[in-house]
Amino acid sequence: MRLNTSASVISYAKQLEADSAAFYENMAERYPKAKEISLTFSKENSNYATMIQRAYYGVITDAIEGCFAFSVETDKYTFEREPAKEPGFADALNQAIDMEQKLISFYTDAAEQSKAFMADVPRTFLIVAKKRKGREDKLRTLLKET
């Protein structure tokens, strides 16, 4: 599905944050050694969704290209809401890394598309992408230790 409007991209971003939070909650339940970090990530997701919504509501006006600022192909960014059933902890971590990479790529692509139009929204997207990069590094460290 292609999304062009700010309203649809913001809703999609919020949905990705909710899905990713669901993934980490599931991971916390299944792998006690990742409980703390997973629940922290899940909570951060909720903050990111709030930041994104606040940036959008704060900046949207008739002077900017709200309906024409994006060209997001959502198929590129889909991921599973929960870790795969059978595999072990290392596979779940790899799945989480893959998910984070998709989310980083979504936020970076969306920021690039809208940077000339949506002012604070692409800036916020890049902040979230940067935070997620830090998260990816943490997950990789955890994977090495496993």
Partner: protein
Amino acid sequence: MAILEEPVKGILEVKNYIDGEWVESKGEIQDVVNPLNGKVIGRVPISTKEEIDAAVEAAKAAFPDWRTTPPVARARCLFRLKELLEANFEEVSRVQTQEHGKTIDESRGETRRGIENVEVACGIPTLMQGYNSEDIASGIDEYLIPTPLGVFGIIGPFNFPFMIPLWSAPYAVATGNCVVIKPSSEVPLSQMKIAELVDEAGFPPGVWNVVNGGRTVVNGMLDHPDIEGITFVGSTPTAKDVIYPRCGATGKRVIAQGGASNFMVIMPDCNLRATIPALMTSFFGNAGQRCLAGQNVIVVGDDDRFYKAFIDGVVDTARKIVIGNGLDEEVQMGPVRDAEKKKKILSYISSGIEEGAKVILDGRSDFKIKGDYPDTCFLGSTIMENVKPEMKIVTEEIFGPTMGILRVKTLDEAIKICDDNPFHNADAIFTSNGRTAREFKYRVKSGNVGINVGIVAPMAFFPFSGMPDSFFGILHTQGKEAIRFFTESKVVIERWP
């Protein structure tokens, strides 16, 4: 993506808000229709002369107490209103989409702009400060005190039902005046919602009044001796031939904003990737129904390769615009407000063709509506080439989703076309050359000038400018100019022998 829930479920009975009470009108009742599907979502009264008189009387009675209320206390009422508007942001935005048809992004943008005016007016304790000179002669001081005048009338249009009355009302009441607002009878629900929040915010009765209706209410405002001034946004014929002269005849202050036929000047060095979306928003946003919308593009230069790339880009992008229900978050363009307006837009397209323009994207037929809705009020984007400055589609305001394309050799010719047009509301240039941009900005006769910006909508702390035949008056709405408009300069010279 799901379609957002409609806030108006049944049929809202719109009442007048006079002296802090919701009052039934004795006037005839008119349906408020959602242009998306023809569904009646409200009933609005066409109020009588007695009702507008009652509102003015209530405002006049409220004025002495309100003007002596300290500006900081008046600001606190506005702060409460701002908080309530934020809390109801999504609901009031969706109401706009339901009554007008615009997309949810556009409605949220309108809400944000409206709230920004309330925010700016919250600064009234400093905005309203006067100035002084000590010792204009030995032992004599002189100072200026901005003082409120009394009652102001605010007449709103159909295209921005929420925002436009807020270009004036917050400043009017912040400065100590009282207001009577007449929303467009086609889209009265947004102002009703605002009045509910005004009521909740605790403004004293009579400070903020809303009277629904048509000509009788407008005439009642224009003729009323107790109304000190009028702000109006609507068509140029009404602004120029009715509002402006009649305010003059009755000694009222006036801000009369009319129509437009704006140009977007495209230089061959512009960044097409950024320019095309800006043009889509300018020409087709709000279905072209705004006085800041681009109506015609002027492509400068004789670079045919650039021209072809430009035309291919705009036509291809415009063709793909998703048209449908504004509450569907994927939709990029909603319907026009009603079938009559659609008919008028169609007649302009026909007139363009008769005068020699060539349709390269036909929004009369070449469009698809997303979802199962009647096409009564829908149009696609129309793009016409071979447009000449003397054609009606250039000299008159279309107010619909159309783009005419003119070609000239030089920037001088482009500026001349802008300046020779009867309207001077908003013109913009798209270029990567600072010198060209400065030249355009410096020379073009236009109230609002854009550089790589397609909708030149001034923020609330700048005036919403305009020049004839798009504007009649001296001061403008919004910001410091609004503060001046709503106050008289009282000058005091003081000596203590």
